[in-house]
């Protein structure tokens, strides 16, 4: 196991703060800044840690980092950021980016992102990433100097373009299909879960009305009064308990969301491969046609119909010199093309090898994480039921004393 940054360094996103400032267009805006704290950990000595270093970053800087990583390491399934805007909300949850609960969940998500990158065998070694953690000033400039932005623009265009690959790699096609399905199923799941949470909330809260009525009723009763009153109290407890329960469930939803976005990253890798494959096929095609042209010029036969052929027939043949010159140019191009093709092939094979390695790593991570998430979800449900049993048992006792 390679030495990841995560092993050498403690990373936390410990605080979030509301800030106001002027943006690029000199308009005042409010945003949240997050405090990143890092501390070097010596693995040999026990308890001896370096001093805590810290700096503030805002969400847009995280975005910049991720874009840089996606472009620079196209064969890696890059960990996703927590969502930009609150999605899959149910009625009690706020969709406001400034809402403290949302900010808190985002803080946790950003920390998770940094930890994921830091524990990735390839990504953790990136210098820009390191600078993101350690260097407050001038980091943006550093990133832009890498010139990744140019690659980013063409990449974005390519990812959205439609084209057909003649000989697609079956594994990648299957994987892309899988990532599409995964995205679809997880978003469906999150949508329904939000509705379920909404309904459950309603059920619990209405029970609170029992509390009030029992209290009013107990006022007119003699022997039944005490029992009713205390039972009513338990109903209030029951109604209130749903808030904590659902907050915990949001954490589960966040875990699912991470993999929803991860699916997107996976898809991007597949697309990149498709792109390379298409590129390769185009280059090969181009080479073949150039060779053909060359051959035609050399032998003087026109095997395929071409405008040049037509014009030459109409306007007379070119001179031998002209033909020689053309052939020479073509031969040069052919040589270039063959070299390019060779390197593209190499690139392609390398890409497939390293991408596939990372994909395997990702699969294992995904299976492990989701299994754990499902288990903790089940545990949450059991705990919710146990609480329910407790409340109703208490209520029953009160009723029995009526």
């Amino acid at each position: 196991m390679e030495d990841c940054l995560a092993k050498k360094m403690e990373i936390t996103v410990s605080e979030a703060e509301k800030r106001t400032g002027r943006n690029a267009m000199n308009i005042q805006e409010t945003y949240t800044a997050y405090l990143i704290e890092t501390r070097a950990v010596e693995s040999q000595s026990e308890g001896q840690c370096g001093p805590v270093e810290s700096l503030w970053r805002r969400y847009s800087e995280f975005e910049l980092l991720r874009n840089y990583l996606s472009v620079t390491y196209p064969h890696i399934v890059v960990p996703p950021l927590p969502e930009k805007r609150a999605d899959f909300v149910w009625h009690k949850l706020s969709a406001d980016n400034m809402d403290p609960d949302f900010v808190e969940r985002r803080r946790i998500g950003l920390e998770n992102f940094l930890l994921r990158v830091a524990s990735h065998p390839v990504l953790c070694q990136d210098k820009i990433f390191y600078a993101f953690l350690m260097q407050e000033g001038g980091w943006k400039e550093l990133v832009n100097e890498t010139g990744f932005q140019l690659k980013a623009d063409s990449r974005l265009k390519a990812l959205n373009a439609t084209f057909r690959v003649k000989n697609p790699d079956k594994r990648f096609t299957e994987l892309k299909h899988y990532s599409d399905e995964l995205q679809s199923v997880i978003s469906h799941l999150l949508r329904v879960r939000a509705r379920v949470a909404d309904r459950l909330y309603g059920v619990y809260k209405v029970h609170g009305n029992y509390g009030r009525v029992f209290s009013e009723w107990s006022a007119i009763e003699k022997e039944m009064g005490d029992g009713l009153q205390s039972a009513g109290h338990h109903m209030d407890v029951y109604a209130a308990s749903i808030d904590d329960i659902l907050e915990e469930e949001e954490h589960y939803a966040d875990q699912l969301k991470e993999y929803l976005f991860y699916a997107e990253a996976l898809r991007a890798v597949c697309r990149k491969h498709e792109l390379m494959q298409y590129d390769l096929e185009m280059a090969a095609q181009d080479l073949t046609s150039k060779k053909q042209q060359c051959e035609e010029l050399a032998t003087g036969t026109v095997r395929t119909f071409s405008l040049k052929g037509m014009t030459s027939k109409l306007f007379g043949q070119e001179t031998a010199e002209q033909r020689e010159a053309k052939i020479k140019v073509l031969e040069e191009q052919i040589q270039e093309g063959e070299e390019q093709l060779k390197s593209k092939n190499l690139e392609g094979r390398d890409f497939v090898k390293s991408a596939w390695a990372d994909i395997e790593r990702f699969k294992e991570q995904k299976n492990h994480d989701l299994k754990e998430a499902l288990i903790s979800y089940a545990v949450m449900q059991i705990s919710m039921c146990k609480k329910g049993i407790q409340v109703w048992t208490n209520a029953k006792e009160c009723f029995s004393k009526m």
């Binding site: 799941l189 879960r193 379920v196 909404d198 059920v203 299976n367 146990k386 029953k396 009526m402």
Partner: protein, 370 residues
């Protein structure tokens, strides 16, 4: 009709002293063990009858008794709702000073409820069973002639017709005919009972609405859960390693749905009807209170009339005396009945709410096991 204690001794209730002793004896009654009960009635076995004119349901009414008034120790007859309704009216007529237990509602909106569905018939059967058991437990009502006939007669219709004929022959209605007399002052305790019943009905009404709302919310929750479970299954189909746990979650959610369904059903079938029954009970009790007020008003008016006449009568006219009797009778009966009613109500609600709690506990336990 003369009042008599379960052991057969008649009691004179025309003086206040004896009515309080009656109360004492009645309270002792409550402490008696079940073994000393000598009358047991059950309602079961609903059957559908299809005739040319109509279709209806009859219920089997089984009686087991050691009382001397009954010729046989056991009886088994078939009765339909009409018969129960008739019995209740007869009891109200013949025992106007007592609180008669309510019957489940007579009319059901035909479009909304299926009169012959299993759930409806079962709910009604339980309510009818309760009705008869309450009468059985009442020290006065259980000795009512009409009640005995109801339990034993092979052909109730013949008796019903006879009863009607008798009435028209006698000319004197057993009903208390009271005119529009105005009440001077209601004794505090009855005013208090009246207020209590008002608030009680209100609160029960609110609880009924809350319970209905909860059931509605639970059903909506159920709808979403039903969509939720299968999504995990779909996901499981996509995965290799995760397919088992995902299928597991899907199955669990399915079980939760079933458990929730059962909870809602139980609440609808067992909890709500009892609430409604008590609301009906409170209504009929308020009517009895009104009658009592009327009787007292009549008495007071007559008393006043006598005073105004200023006649030198040594003896208070008999009809005024009668009135006084009636008032006091009424008051005593009512008080006694209220005591029983309160006790029974307490028991009933205790059971009811405990049952509700139990059901919820069961639901959660089922979900836990899953």
């Amino acid at each position: 009709q003369d009042l008599s204690l379960p052991n057969g001794t008649p009691v004179d209730t025309s003086s206040p002293a004896s009515s309080s002793s009656l109360l004492n004896r009645l309270q002792l009654d409550d402490d008696l063990d079940v073994e000393t009960r000598d009358l047991f009635v059950t309602v079961d076995d609903p059957k559908k009858h299809v005739c040319t004119m109509e279709t209806y349901i009859t219920y089997r009414v089984t009686t087991k008794t050691t009382r001397a008034e009954f010729d046989l120790p056991e009886y088994s007859v078939r009765r339909r709702y009409q018969d129960f309704d008739w019995l209740r009216n007869k009891l109200e007529e013949s025992q106007p000073t007592h609180l008669i237990p309510p019957l489940p509602e007579k009319f059901v909106v035909k479009g909304v409820v299926d009169r012959f569905s299993e759930e409806f018939v079962e709910t009604r059967r339980k309510a009818l069973d309760k009705f008869l058991k309450r009468i059985t437990d009442h020290p006065v009502l259980s000795f009512n002639e009409h009640f005995s006939i109801f339990l034993t007669a092979k052909d109730l219709n013949a008796y019903k017709k006879q009863g009607m004929a008798l009435l028209s022959k006698m000319g004197e209605s057993v009903k208390y005919v009271t005119g529009g007399y105005k009440l001077r002052s209601r004794p505090l305790e009855f005013a208090a009972i009246g207020d209590y019943l008002d608030t009680f009905s209100l609160k029960l009404g609110t609880i009924d609405r809350i319970a209905q709302r909860i059931i509605k919310e639970q059903l909506e929750y159920l709808v979403e859960l039903r969509e939720y479970g299968p999504v995990y299954s779909t996901w499981g189909g996509l995965e290799v390693e995760l397919s088992e746990p995902l299928e597991g979650v899907s199955a669990c959610i399915g079980n939760c749905c079933t458990a929730l369904e059962e909870l809602s059903e139980d609440m609808t079938e067992d909890f709500l009807p009892v609430l409604r029954e008590y609301i009906l009970y409170a209504e009929s009790m308020k009517n009895v209170l009104k009658k009592r007020d009327q009787v007292q008003a009549e008495y007071e008016a007559k008393l006043e009339a006598v005073a105004l006449k200023k006649e030198d009568r040594p003896k208070v006219p008999t009809d005024v005396e009668k009135c006084q009797d009636r008032v006091e009778c009424f008051n005593a009966d009512l008080k006694a009945d209220m005591e029983r009613w309160q006790n029974n109500k307490r028991q009933d609600f205790r059971q009811l709410l405990m049952g509700m709690a139990d059901k919820n506990i069961q639901y959660y336990e089922k979900v836990c096991v899953t």
